[in-house]
Point group: C2
């Protein structure tokens, strides 16, 4: 079953040559409940094929917009590769990033049911390919594949839990804690793609494999850009983080994790 999953993902992601070998360590599976649950991987080969048939390919440049608040919700999307930023904008112009969707993840389902307008924005965080499925087609697919409905429920559940955690953090933790937690979460979730950093003794490090500006981090944890900058500097000086290419590595994941468990569970 775990193998079917891989095949499913491959079928969808298409013609990646390096695809077979992205060895995400199994221990990350443990944090599953925190991830937004790779939808594609959970499907069987036939199911994936069925979805492929009704999907339409969409290519997005970096910063390309997929939909915005107020749009009619006509489609459900699945990330093939790249990554999509989902955010809301308050009337003061402040963005709040709700989550990122990584390869295999589905998004736009929350609007599926009510058929109401979008309430959030979806933008490509980098060059990204997504598959677009018409709402009605997807609904029909769910109707004829009860198993898949269950998966959808599972995914939405995971998202509810993630948002719950985020809320608790926002309400009780200080900025440093929130950043630490965020990085750990993203490390787990962004491990779907391999890190390009050929280890210089970096085997025990945890890679946060997403390009995140300080502003992004700020919008994710509800803090100001400046505070994020200075907090990250502190963490780097303290030897917790290391900047690699365009992203971060967490030097001693275990130490950080333990610190968080003590500081706030």
């Amino acid at each position: 079953m775990g193998n079917d999953a891989r095949i499913g993902a491959n079928a969808f992601a298409g013609s990646e040559p390096d695809q077979d070998g992205h060895g995400d360590p199994d221990d990350l599976r443990g944090s599953w409940s925190d991830a937004h649950a790779d939808f594609l991987s959970s499907l069987s080969e036939e199911e994936t094929a069925g979805l492929l048939k009704i999907a339409r390919r969409v290519e997005l440049k970096p910063r390309g917009q997929l939909f915005r608040a107020g749009d009619r919700s006509n489609d459900v999307f699945i990330v093939a590769d790249g990554c999509i930023r989902l955010f809301q904008v308050s009337s003061t112009g402040k963005e709040t990033i709700l989550w990122f969707s990584f390869p295999g993840e589905i998004f736009g389902i929350a609007e599926l049911w009510s058929g109401s307008d979008r309430e959030i924005y979806a933008e490509a965080n980098e060059a990204t390919r997504v598959y677009s499925i018409r709402r009605s087609d997807f609904a029909e697919f769910l109707g004829t594949h009860p198993e898949v409905s269950m998966r959808a429920i599972g995914i939405l559940s995971a998202r509810v839990r993630t948002l719950g955690h985020a809320m608790v953090g926002l309400a009780t933790d200080n900025v440093e804690t929130r950043i630490a937690r965020l990085l750990l979460r993203f490390a787990a979730v962004s491990s779907v793609r391999p890190c390009d950093d050929t280890g210089d003794g970096a085997e025990h490090e945890l890679c946060v494999n997403v390009r995140l500006t300080h502003q992004d981090v700020a919008n994710l944890i509800g803090a100001s850009r400046q505070t994020v900058t200075s907090t990250l500097t502190v963490l780097r000086k303290r030897g917790t983080l290391r900047a690699v290419n365009q992203h971060f590595h967490i030097i001693q994941p275990e130490r950080l994790r333990r610190a968080l468990e003590l500081g706030a569970a």
Copy 2:
């Protein structure tokens, strides 16, 4: 269909004499997406009967605990009457209330899929009756009732959206705004039961029909108890709120709503 819904809810709520006449105004249906979507009302008579058959009745005293973080997630619950508070506790002992579940609403589904342990606490906010359905039974029920699966998806979606709103608010709004928004939300959602206040010209007022201590409000919006107290006092002095029995009335809902739309959408 709207009528079937009512019947369904009645069948479940059981032997309430005053049940038929709880005339919730139709205009509140508009804020559907914000509510946690009355699960029972959305079921047909047969579906409700089917659920009843596999459900077990549970009675809870005020403050009675239904489950706690760490418990095995063996059941899914539906509120018959009363109301349930769902919250998380950080290691510092601070509670964060995620949401309240009102009659007809289902909760505990988020844990259903992963079968993992509970991450949250569920307590009765007052004397409450809930129906408890074994996880496996409910999963089977969903499998044999695709329609109901879709409803479940809709409900989880609504919850995702609600949490999203809450997060944005937490990240961008000040305490006064958050309280105002909370009260409007609860007014909509708590209108499932009638207000006991026989109007003394209170027809245009909006009733927030839940017993909420200031501490509860604080835990809901991520603020301190003291700040909530003083903010509520300000709102009362300004003529926005009125205390009735154990709950609040919003004097001029429209005015408040407009103020919020301007202040932060």
